[in-house]
Structure formats: structure tokens, C-alpha cells
């Protein structure tokens, strides 16, 4: 069982590392980097699921019949580019927050903004 599943377990460890950065860090930029770590780990998990032992790259060629599953590749390919666009949107919000509150630390922003 360990030989069959350790791959997923390490990917879950990576995911949780990103998650830890998101919830424990007070710095908004570091939070977004943590979110990206989490995201990249989810990509690895998806692609791992699509892998077939001794499979080939899903570009059709003569004499090869066992290809890895191309569907997760398509989903993750678009997800990566969408991911960088949304990251950019998040970072743009951080820049605007910095210009308004003069800080990117969560506690400092909460202190200034008493409605929170």
C-alpha cells in the first residue's frame, strides 16, 4: 500500500504546506504565494492520477498503444494559465491595499479598519 500511495501522500503534504502559509502568515503577499504553492500541488495531484505505469506521452505515434490519460492534462493546462491571471488579480488588490493602508500586514490593516 505504501508503494502505491506514497506519491499522493507527499503531494498532500505539499498541499498542506501551502495551506499552512495561507492561514498562518499575516503578510498578504506571502499568503498569495502560499495559495500558489497549494495550487501547484493540486496540479501535481491531478497529473499523478492521469499517469499510467509505463504509459507514453499522449501524442499519437505508430506502434504505441498505452498512453497516459490526456484529460487531466487538458484541465490542468488551462488551470495553470487561469491561475496566473487570478494570482495577478490578487496581487493587484494587494498593491491597492498597500497604497490605501500603507501596510500589507493583516493585523495592521485590521487595527486601522475598525469595522473588521
Amino acid at each position: 500500500m505504501i508503494a502505491g500511495l506514497y506519491n499522493y501522500w507527499i503531494v498532500i503534504l505539499l498541499m498542506m504546506t501551502g495551506f499552512y502559509v495561507v492561514i498562518s502568515s499575516g503578510n498578504l503577499v506571502k499568503k498569495i504565494i502560499g495559495l500558489n504553492l497549494f495550487q501547484a500541488s493540486v496540479f501535481i495531484l491531478y497529473i499523478s492520477i492521469g499517469k499510467i505505469a509505463n504509459g507514453h506521452v499522449p501524442i499519437l505515434q505508430e506502434g504505441v498503444s498505452n498512453y497516459s490519460n490526456p484529460l487531466p492534462h487538458v484541465l490542468i493546462l488551462t488551470a495553470i494559465v487561469v491561475g496566473v491571471s487570478t494570482t495577478a488579480l490578487g496581487l493587484a488588490l494587494v498593491v491597492r491595499i498597500r497604497e490605501t493602508y500603507d501596510s500589507v500586514e493583516e493585523e495592521e490593516i485590521h487595527r486601522q479598519d475598525e469595522s473588521l
Binding site: V57, I59, L77, I80, V84, S85, A88, A92, V95
Partner: protein, 139 residues
């Protein structure tokens, strides 16, 4: 960074190669690894390298922001427009078989057009985002 001769000369040599490679990835995506998303990102990376080495002002004069904003919309409209063309040809939305007499030729044409649309929008969005961040502190 513009004062560093090594950086400047290497950048001048490799930027055309990056752009050429992006075009190869764009139009060879049917046969090898590649396609619109990858090509768009690589194409944008070439321009971003130019912006990093020569400054955002130089990048803005190389590719004006107004043109970029137009291209962001053009790519998406090209993709959506292919669907409208297939509907006008009497088939379903994005059913490329209707684009030519031979279904395989239609598929090929449709995939190329759609991937080109993806490439345009992705590269324009990436360069725009870079300019927005890097140009924020410009005088």
C-alpha cells in the same frame, strides 16, 4: 539594468529566438507539445524580458498599451467568432466540421483559428499585467 552590456547583448540575441520559438509552439501544437496557451505565455515572456532589461518605457513604445487592450479582446472574439461562423455554416456552435468540405480539413482549420485566438489573448493579458505592475512606480 540598461547599463549592463552583458545583459543587454544577451537579451537582444535571445529575444528574437524566444518569439520565434513561441510561433513554432503556436503553429506546431497539433503535432507536438504546444498550443495557444503555451505559445501565448512564451511570447509574452519574450516581451517581459525586453521590459525587464530595457525598461517599461521601451516596452510601451515597442507595443503600445492601446494595441494591447485591443488584442485582449480580439483573441477572445476570434475564438467566439469561429463558433458563430460554424453556426452560420449550418452546424452547431464550435462544430468545426462545417468549416470546410472535408470534415478533417474543417477540424484542422477550426483548431488552428481557435488556438490562435487563445494565443493572442493570453499573450496580451500577460504583457498588460506585467506593464500594470512594473509601470506602477514610474514617474
Amino acid at each position: 539594468m540598461i547599463d549592463n552590456p552583458v545583459l543587454r547583448i544577451i537579451a537582444k540575441i535571445i529575444i528574437p529566438m524566444i518569439l520565434l520559438f513561441a510561433l513554432y509552439v503556436q503553429f506546431h501544437g497539433d503535432y507536438g507539445p504546444g498550443g495557444g496557451f503555451q505559445a501565448g505565455v512564451i511570447f509574452a515572456a519574450g516581451f517581459i524580458l525586453y521590459g525587464l532589461v530595457f525598461g517599461t518605457e521601451a516596452l510601451r513604445s515597442a507595443i503600445p498599451p492601446g494595441v494591447l487592450r485591443l488584442l485582449i479582446a480580439v483573441g477572445l472574439l476570434l475564438f467566439a467568432g469561429v463558433g458563430v461562423v460554424t453556426m452560420l455554416a449550418g452546424s452547431d456552435y464550435l462544430a468545426y466540421n462545417a468549416l470546410a468540405q472535408d470534415p478533417l480539413a474543417g477540424q484542422h482549420l477550426g483548431i488552428l483559428a481557435v488556438e490562435f485566438g487563445v494565443g493572442i489573448t493570453v499573450s496580451a493579458v500577460m504583457i498588460t499585467i506585467f506593464l500594470a505592475f512594473a509601470g506602477r512606480n514610474d514617474p
